[in-house]
């Protein structure tokens, strides 16, 4: 299942002669309904975060961001994504290279398997690691003997995050590299390019913007994952609380302003992600028109 389908809006399809277009009135009505729907479902929730966050004033807003628990949650979120995102980025490049540059049997099965984490409920994504490493899990007793803690600690949170964000970079790169074919790389090999140099000088320049978007999207998901992390974290304040979990705790304690203030940080992250996407699409359309 696609986590993100990149679709370019081209001007061409919206230039239509009158006889295969709707009348002006119908067009206005349809546009109005579409915008009303988006306002209700997407724009209002977005605004609500800032309105509720700033309800009790700027001081309460900044104070809730400077709170010690919020800061430690932010720190943990950053650490987790700093580990998870590079791991999945490296995997994504390897997988896309294997799948798009070579023909082999079971290629489509492999692509489906890479998509698998998209089909798994976040709660189950956490559960599987509890089953493996939890106190009653398969490796629980062994880990206990060696005094290693995975569940309710950083490694568990990282594992669950890696699982949930597993397909993002690969998913972004596979269609891109597939469409570019292998001619350039083959030419480079004939000219004597080897291994890493080939990737670095020939492939990377072609895929860098798609790769950047894949990484940014993977990062947004890593920082925002809630369900899976909630299962493995144990919710220990100041220790195993990530930003989304901190939002939940504050909300359940009726500290709404603080909860929305922390939420607004993650909204900014989402907006930044979308801005990068727009930029990458813009680069892509420029590249195509060249």
């Amino acid at each position: 299942m696609a986590g993100a389908v990149t679709a370019h809006l081209s001007e061409e399809a919206s230039v239509r002669p009158q006889h295969i277009n709707e009348s002006v009135l119908v067009r206005i009505v349809l546009i109005t309904i579409a915008l009303a729907f988006l306002t209700l479902v997407v724009i209002f929730p977005l605004l609500t975060v800032f309105i509720e966050g700033l309800k009790k004033g700027w001081d309460v807003y900044t104070a809730s961001l400077r709170d010690a628990d919020a800061l430690s949650a932010l720190k943990l979120t950053l650490i987790v994504s700093l580990i998870a995102v590079p791991l999945n980025t490296f995997f994504g490049i390897m997988a896309a290279w294997a799948i798009t540059k070579f023909k082999f049997r079971g290629r489509n099965v492999l692509i489906t398997l890479i998509d698998l984490p998209f089909a798994v409920s976040p709660v189950i994504s956490g559960l599987i690691f509890v089953l493996m490493f939890g106190a009653q899990g398969f490796y629980g007793p062994w880990l206990d003997d060696h005094n290693i803690q995975i569940i309710f600690a950083l490694p568990g949170i990282v594992l669950a995050t890696v699982f949930v964000t597993f397909p993002f970079v690969a998913r972004e790169l596979i269609p891109l590299m597939e469409s570019q074919g292998v001619q350039e790389e083959e030419a480079a090999v004939v000219l004597g390019a080897k291994g890493l140099k080939l990737f670095w000088l020939v492939t990377l320049p072609n895929i860098k913007w798609g790769l950047l978007y894949g990484i940014i999207l993977c990062n947004a998901r890593a920082m925002g994952e809630f369900g899976a992390v909630s299962v493995v974290s144990g919710h220990i304040r100041g220790e195993t609380n990530t930003l989304p979990l901190h939002i939940e705790i504050l909300y359940n304690e009726y500290q709404f302003s603080a909860s929305f203030a922390v939420s607004s940080l993650l909204v900014l992250l989402a907006v930044l992600t979308l801005a990068v996407k727009k930029f990458v699409e813009w680069r892509g359309s420029k590249w195509q028109s060249k």
Partner: protein, 277 residues
């Protein structure tokens, strides 16, 4: 597929494929297998009792029906949004296009608290609906709205490219033959985009069934009424009933895999169509 017949000219085949399979096994396949191993150790009677009692069935029902309703709403409005974005020109179009991706990028917990604040009885929209006798938050309707938010990009982004690549000629021909716009849409355009629309619907549905973060806040989590299946797993885990949680997880996994299979079949058919066309 482009390129020469022998693709092994390029370096790194063994290394990249080997690493891909290794990482896939360690992170995804082996942990997922744990679900099956754990359930296998349960015994039939126990397993059956866990996955088939009144409270669990009610939770499946809530999850299934709300996901279905949300996917249906998204199929209608998602198609409309894609249509408007592809075919019409209006100010702020590029901004609206970006906005469609927001549910992908926004953490689910943020969506959850925000939608709840908006649609609760004292919320901005909830307070307007209250006098009309419509309660949104803490009812299945609220869950549906959260799932509409989550599923929207799936429908828009699968329909959009197909709509964009649609040839104008067939529509021209229909007009020449005297068909009105709506008839042209029904007879010419809709059959062309139907597979994409169905794929988007299935993707939104599959995502909705497993969704947790955006739903727990707005659902109110009343057993038998607004308790969703993923929450039931969570509750069992908190009570250290690992076997019970795993059994329900297995049922959900099977449902998701069936959905995934259907999506892949649909997409295969869709690709065939575009290639033969």
């Amino acid at each position: 597929m482009k390129g020469s017949a022998n693709r092994r000219v390029l370096p790194g085949y063994g290394l990249s494929l080997g690493y891909t399979i290794f990482y896939l096994c360690v992170i995804v396949l082996i942990p997922l297998a744990g679900i099956f191993i754990k359930t296998a150790g349960m015994g039939w009677a126990d397993f059956w009792h866990t996955i088939w009692n009144a409270r669990v069935i009610a939770a499946y029902k809530v999850s299934f029906l709300t996901a279905l309703a949300a996917a249906g709403i998204n199929a209608v409005f998602g198609l409309l949004v894609a249509w408007v974005l592809v075919r019409y020109k209006f100010p702020g179009k590029s901004f609206i296009d970006s906005l469609v991706d927001l549910p992908f990028a926004l953490p689910t917990a943020v969506a959850g608290v925000s939608l709840t604040a908006l649609y609760a009885q004292n919320g901005w929209i909830g307070s307007k609906l209250e006098p009309l006798g419509i309660k949104v938050a803490y009812t299945p309707l609220g869950i549906t709205i959260a799932l509409v938010f989550i599923g929207l990009p799936f429908v828009v982004r699968t329909v959009q490219p197909v709509l964009q690549d649609l040839e104008k000629d067939t529509e021209e021909a229909a007009v020449m033959l005297g068909a009105y716009r709506f008839r042209t849409f029904r007879k010419i355009v809709l059959p062309e985009i139907a597979p994409a629309l169905l794929t988007g619907f299935a993707l939104a549905f599959a995502r909705g069934i497993g969704e947790y973060g955006s739903v727990v806040f707005i659902s109110g989590n009343m057993p038998m009424k607004t308790e969703i299946a993923p929450l039931l797993i969570m509750t069992k885990l908190e009570q250290y009933e690992y076997a019970g949680a795993t059994a329900i997880a297995l049922v959900m996994l099977v449902i998701s895999f069936i959905a995934l299979l259907i999506i892949n079949l649909l997409q295969a058919r869709m690709n065939k169509r575009t290639i033969s066309a």
